[in-house]
Assembly symmetry: C2
Homo-oligomer: 313 residues x 2
Amino acid sequence: MSDTDDLLLSSWRDTPTRAALVEFVERVTGDGPDAIPPEERIATFDNDGTLWCEKPLPIQLSYILGRLAGMATEDPTLRERQPWKAAYEHDNAWLGGVVAKHYAGDDSDVKVLMRGILASVGGVAVDDYAQGAADFVNGTLHPTLGRSFRDCAYLRMVELLRYLEANGFTTFIASGGDRDFMRPFASDVYGIPPERIIGSSNALRYDADSDVLAYLAEPDVFDDGPVKPIRIWSRTGRRPIVAGGNSNGDIPMLQFAGGGRPALRLLVLHDDAEREFDYTTGSETALGRAADDDWTVVSIKDDWSTVFADRSA
Amino acid sequence: MSDTDDLLLSSWRDTPTRAALVEFVERVTGDGPDAIPPEERIATFDNDGTLWCEKPLPIQLSYILGRLAGMATEDPTLRERQPWKAAYEHDNAWLGGVVAKHYAGDDSDVKVLMRGILASVGGVAVDDYAQGAADFVNGTLHPTLGRSFRDCAYLRMVELLRYLEANGFTTFIASGGDRDFMRPFASDVYGIPPERIIGSSNALRYDADSDVLAYLAEPDVFDDGPVKPIRIWSRTGRRPIVAGGNSNGDIPMLQFAGGGRPALRLLVLHDDAEREFDYTTGSETALGRAADDDWTVVSIKDDWSTVFADRSA
């Protein structure tokens, strides 16, 4: 490693967390017994809550609700049916109930929401969907942070991506979110090209006559929990040695890292109500594992001198 | 493009085919109306019969038959059941019959063979499978060419991969063959890393308690024909502008290339009985499309000054 590479982490405060990152990278890139060759330096990061903000709603869900509301504007009959009704009426109570029921083990409304989501993409060409996603992320304001969604990326994590790449790592996003929603902005916002975006997906169909590749109204893969290691292997052919997440759904990915070799497991802790959000719901088990197994917890409050970029708009 | 880049094609003869490759690359990398930015320069290539030899049997099938024979050596009861019986007895007539029936529209024996293949990988850890594949490709002689399987790669196609990369392309393999069979040798033989290998796959399961990622005895994706465009999009998020294949199963991939932009579609023609093989079975429709739609046909006999590397063993 170059002596100046860790300047790439200059907006990380000088804390034990930052020291742990640098120590790990120096160890695996050095010539000691823990050295790992560059082609085996794979780093995977969750997206929502790890690389960008996921509150008050995951940004992708905001996008989907906008699409559903648009469908209900076109077709008034949809306004009487969930999830279009809630989207059209901006009924956050119904949506909050979906999440509350989910945490209580009742996914009946999740299924209603999923049916709407799938109906909203069925028949849509991949290029049209990508354009819509990019326009939404670039052109929509976060409801409370006073900045566009594209400026809700955690720039300290982007610094970490660059630091790892400067040290021979290949970085990937491995998210439970929709792969094709992330791709259109991930190059610009994170510097990660489309082929290194792993995520959930809807089924596709290629029509040779029209030369159109479009979504079916069917799910393909839901890339969360124990599916993440499988998708990471499927896409990269290797185990990561750096894995970063923020919630219980990331536990299998973090555990999968290493495979008998050194591994750095990062968990982003949302503890900064002033600059971002303060919550642990959905992350309790992961934080317990971090404490038990010495995973590295990144405190937004303590470890980052700033959270977001200056607003670009 | 550098003026010397096409020296990378120095073992291609000075034919219209070579001229078509260079003309296309110069056109999309120049500053004319057909210029395409580097991040959109995606090139995808089939493997069997396009990047390496697929006769008298696809090399992966030779590997599988060896595994099946090994199972029958361990368990004598398998020797009475297909496909283990044929593998154990080296009964090429049965295997030839599978292919002949397939071309006649009868896939009953293909199903028997597939059941054996899936049984042979069920429960096998990904690392063990990878090691077995690498050992097989490096250590097994081709039955007629007098060289190891790893030396059955077409070095003129490897030159083409390097030529494209030197011109800002990102290269991928998009094969109907098994992704995890190709990955262990593709870095060495083709210079393509595991994350850029697309292919068929078996289902996987990650067991968190044992930290083992292993195959299930179930298929996941069969990456051929109309599935190739879907898998290419799923893995790369873009359409290729260069696509190369050799058989009817590659037609949808070649058609998918471009999407309204310039595209180079290559079809490798096996017309060299002396140095490789001479056959068109399974490629008739593709060759018809090439003639009708001005796809670029690569003649092994006419376009390549040599076919294989000097033997490395």
